[in-house]
């Protein structure tokens, strides 16, 4: 009986692991890094999680968790509420189209993320400019996007490892 409940709990956690990772990514994205030189732009960690699990495990990263990931990022990062939520949903859709068009082999994953990330920055900048009704500085978004693209391969491998070695056994 106890084993059965524990087993169900592990499966429950396994199903929600991508969402929990996405929330963890939101937390890490706003942690004070105390970097010298006042580095103020952190990579889009939540987008990396949404992209990877959205394209590899679409059954675990559905629109609901993507929306709540974006909402949490909006609320904690001082962005207009709904901005990252909408951006992540649009980018998830774009990522699925790109995946179905080009496949999801390891060689193309980085390029697909680069396209998705560029789209995310463009959408976020456009929404922010519309929201503020003023053309905002696109450089910050561009830098944030480039840093995210540069770091994605490391996180991609880490997510693949978690997917194979943690999530899959938990759901077995």
């Amino acid at each position: 009986m106890v084993i059965s409940i524990f087993s169900r709990f592990i499966k429950w956690v396994g199903r929600r692991m991508p969402f929990l990772l996405a929330i963890l990514a939101v937390i890490i994205a706003i942690l004070p890094l105390r970097m010298p030189g006042n580095l103020e732009l952190t990579p889009l960690y939540p987008l990396m999680v949404v992209f990877f699990f959205g394209t590899h495990r679409g059954d675990l990263m559905t629109p609901g968790p993507i929306f709540f990931t974006g909402l949490a990022y909006d609320l904690l990062s001082d962005a207009p509420v709904g901005l990252w939520a909408l951006t992540f949903l649009v980018c998830h859709t774009l990522a699925l189209v790109l995946r179905d068009t080009f496949g999801r082999v390891i060689y193309t994953a980085w390029a697909l993320f680069a396209l998705t990330c560029a789209a995310a920055c463009l959408i976020a900048w456009s929404l922010w400019s519309l929201y503020a009704w003023d053309i905002q500085d696109p450089l910050k978004f561009a830098v944030q996007g480039l840093v995210s693209i540069g770091l994605y391969p490391f996180f991609g491998f880490a997510f693949a490892f978690i997917e194979r070695r943690v999530i899959a056994p938990m759901r077995a």
Binding site: I27, I30, P32, R34, P36, G64, I66, S77, G82
Partner: protein, 307 residues
């Protein structure tokens, strides 16, 4: 729907694909609705934001502790290499500071005597709360910090936040267990300041490049490189006399301020509560210019600097 479409996209049944598409549309519309509601700047949205910060404060606090430990370890390793030079520098600095200390004590006695004679009432500091920085919004939207003290520690909107060097910003939102501090570098930050020995009053406005601009300088006023900037207390925005930074001249561009506070490395802030005195015209204390000031001057911009 062709049979192969949902299979090719990794779904087990067509219903899963339809549910996924329906979810995308539903949550997309909801996000758009939230954006429109947020545009109306309803106080409700601020409450939701601070509630989220309160809920996350414990996790953020633990994460910030880990971040502190990691950055502390990196600092330790990088500083170990030049301990000798650092020791020499500190010895020299200590000698200079002892001289400054004597001067400060003398001035403190003089000020107390003047205050006694003139019966000046400065804006009283009601209390100080120490708070740890648990989040740095770190995005392109704003420059703000979240600290782990809120209404539970009697933090109020408008309170001044300082690190060990100078003013960091002011409290703009207060939750039950957390508060949001708008940094001086945020483009929405505008604080009244007074500059150097001449007592020139101006407004310090945040700028995205991390160097806040000094704006609305009175016509005919001149600023010197390195002059000290302190809060003026005008309008009751902040208490007078809080150290902010020094003047940095930039040629044709409006002068900016090099802040004393290092916003990127703040771990703890002191939040100062104060009472605004509106019926007393209080002259702000004017700090002495630092000895390294140069004679370089700039003519004040007769028009407010545009952005």
């Amino acid at each position: 729907m062709p049979h192969a479409t949902y299979k090719r996209q990794g779904w087990k049944t067509p219903i899963e694909l339809r549910a996924h598409r329906g979810g995308l549309i539903m949550f997309g519309v909801l996000s758009l609705a939230l954006l429109l509601v947020g545009r109306a700047e309803l106080p409700f949205m601020d409450k939701v934001r601070m509630t989220a910060a309160d809920l996350a404060s414990d996790v953020l606090g633990a994460g910030a502790a880990v971040s502190d430990a990691v950055s502390g370890a990196i600092d330790y390793v990088s500083n170990a290499a030049d301990l000798y030079d650092e020791n020499e520098r500190l010895r020299r600095e200590n000698t200079e500071l002892l001289a400054w200390r004597e001067k400060a004590l003398e001035q403190e006695r003089q000020i107390a005597a003047f205050e006694g004679v003139m019966e000046i009432l400065y804006t009283p500091i009601e209390g100080i709360t120490a708070a740890s920085v648990i989040a740095d919004t770190g995005g392109p939207f704003s420059r703000a910090l979240i600290v782990n003290a809120g209404a539970n520690k009697d933090v109020r909107e408008g309170d001044a936040a300082l690190d060990r060097f100078g003013l960091v910003g002011r409290v703009v939102k207060v939750g039950a267990r957390s508060a949001r501090i708008l940094l001086l570098t945020d483009s929405a930050s505008h604080i009244p300041v007074v500059i150097g020995e001449s007592g020139v009053r101006a407004i310090l406005s945040g700028d995205s490049d991390g160097l806040p601009e000094i704006r609305f300088i009175p016509p005919g006023a001149t600023l010197r490189e390195g002059e000290q900037i302190v809060t003026s207390g005008d309008g009751g925005v902040l208490p007078p006399g809080l150290p902010v930074g020094v003047v940095h001249l930039r040629g044709a561009e409006p002068p900016s301020a090099t802040l004393y506070a290092d916003a990127g490395r703040i771990e703890v802030v002191a939040i100062k509560r104060f009472n605004v005195i509106n019926d007393v015209d209080v002259p702000p204390p004017v700090a002495e210019a630092p000895p390294e000031s140069t004679d370089e001057t700039v003519a004040a911009n007769p028009q407010p600097a545009g952005r």
